[in-house]
Amino acid sequence: MANVVAENLTRVFETKSKRLVALDNVSFEVQIGEVFGLLGPNGAGKTTLIRILTTLLLPTSGRALVGGFDVVKEAKKVRSIIGFSSSSERVGFDFVTARRNLWFFSQLYGTPTSEAKRRIEELATLLEFQDQLDRKLYTLTTGYRQRLNIARAFINDPQVVFFDEPTNGMDVFSAKKVRELFVKEAKTNSRTIFLATHNMFEAEEVCDRVAIIDRGRILAIDSPENLKSSLSKPVVLFETDIAGASIGDPTQLEGVVGGTIKVDNESEAAKIRVILRDEDYLERVLQLLEKRGIRVFNYQRIEPTLEDVFISLVGAGFAERERSVEA
């Protein structure tokens, strides 16, 4: 059964001098008990979509239902069944303990105090910060504050929980705990977890399905495995000397559908990751690199990642796309 439904959602931001289509005819459904990932570079429209689904922003056109309630007409009902957390917000009140902060947020949903106390203990145990509960917020480390932020999103026992870049800047251990919690809450407590991220590893690790979004449009929706296996084109990684950076845009190479270049200035090396039109172009790319005076130390065909799927769809990686959006 669908817990989140979007039908032709469009959001346009207009100023006197500019018109920006942040979401363009977006449609999808997310089921109960599903961890759904919205994967795309910064500026792709992820936050706009989450804002609309959490009733913070009105769509320009289209319709969205959360838990069966219309996000425009029944905003209050939607608000009472959702949880929400973003890495960009303040966790709570600095001079108040973590426990009191969580209790405060539970009261905004009318949760009885006894129930709130039980949930605080339960969430603190799951995210392993029980010993931090009675400390004032300003004394907590960043990792614990971030875990508290995640716990806050579950405090009202929500049907659907929205996260916007939840593990951004989080330490590895905390991020692992958080990802485990997402899966557990979806599978054990039948919640829908809606996760906007640009972290490919996270999307692959926890999401049942992923929607790839770019410039306000959903380009593909499927399980991470299916998305990767749908990429029939070969992905090849060339390890070259620093001259490899001079290529700039890998699509300039003949037979390359898309790619990324990562430069390591310390070791004076470059990693050119490309998606080839087909296997036959491998030799030709090698010759082109040599012709340009680029020394290739090693090359190998590698398993595609979700970013490769993204590259195959838009021709550029997340970083390149973000740069072009900023420009």
Binding site: L56, I82, S88, R90, F93, E165
Partner: protein
């Protein structure tokens, strides 16, 4: 017999009421805890008004006006509320917006009005001990002559707070539209209003040293009318018969500012959903 729709309607209403009350009470409690959790706040909010009020009481005494030392002590007791309204109340939603807390409030079923009322209640309760401390210590040190507090004093005090915090609610809504300028506006408002409202001296009435035109302007500030009424009832034993114009004006100001504040707030929230600009702190 009640219909199913009517029962459902009652259930929804009851649930909304529970959320409203819980949101307001928890916000009030958090405000009080946060106030006293910050040692610097205690120093600034108890120590500051106490020292100013004692200094002014000494001046009154040195000038041979010992009977007026009560003005300074009363001012010390009330000034904390004024500071609280401006710095904690009016600026709060703007700070919440900038820190990203505001959209957590909006994304919850709790109405912003409940949170604002809770904030006011917490501000009043949290400021009460510091206000009482100044009044008790000042009274013990200077023994100013005053009439025993009556129901009129309680009424005027409560109406003054209501009008003052109503002003806080109105400013809080208006400040949501502003960015960092809200702090500059606070800075610009604090001293002139403290002066005009006559916290430590009578700025309106027969004892006022200010020209009539300035007194007329000062009378538009709820704190001025409240301080004037408190002084007249505490130190000159005036009752309802003499103070009714102040009481009526304070009640009208309280009602108007709360109404304006809450209306502005719902307008801003609605506009924010349309334009997205209420959530500027969000990525």
């Amino acid at each position: 017999m009640l219909g199913r729709a009517s029962l459902r309607g009652r259930g929804v209403l009851r649930r909304s009421l529970v959320i409203w009350v819980k949101a307001a009470v928890s916000r009030a409690l958090i405000r009080v805890i946060a106030m006293y959790g910050d040692p610097l706040w205690i120093v600034v909010n108890v120590g500051g008004p106490m020292l100013t009020s004692l200094a002014l009481a000494f001046l009154y005494r040195l000038a041979g006006l010992s009977n007026l030392t009560g003005f300074a002590i009363l001012g010390g007791g009330m000034v904390a509320y004024w500071g609280n309204v401006l710095w904690s109340m009016a600026s709060q939603l703007n700070w919440d917006k900038r820190s990203g807390m505001l959209y957590l409030y909006i994304a919850s079923p709790a109405p912003l009005t409940a949170l604002l009322i809770g904030m006011s209640l917490g501000g009043i309760l949290g400021t009460l001990p510091s206000s009482v401390a100044v009044l008790v210590i000042g009274t013990l040190l200077f023994k100013p002559p005053f009439s025993p507090p009556t129901m009129t004093v309680a009424l005027v005090f409560m109406l003054t707070l209501l009008a003052l915090y109503g002003m806080g609610i109105a400013l809080s809504s208006l400040y949501l539209i502003l960015g960092r300028e809200s702090e500059e506006i606070n800075e610009a408002l604090y001293e002139p209003i403290s002066f005009l409202s006559g916290i430590y001296f009578p700025s309106i009435g027969r004892l006022s040293p200010l020209p009539l035109a300035v007194q007329a302007v000062a009378s538009l500030i709820p704190l001025t009318l409240g301080m004037d009424a408190l002084r007249r009832t505490l130190f000159y034993a005036e009752g309802l018969a003499e103070l009714w114009p102040n009481i009526a004006a304070l009640a009208a100001m309280a009602a108007a500012s709360i109404l304006i504040g809450l209306r502005t707030l719902s307008f801003i929230e609605r506009r924010g959903r349309e334009t997205g600009d209420i959530l500027v702190a969000m990525k």
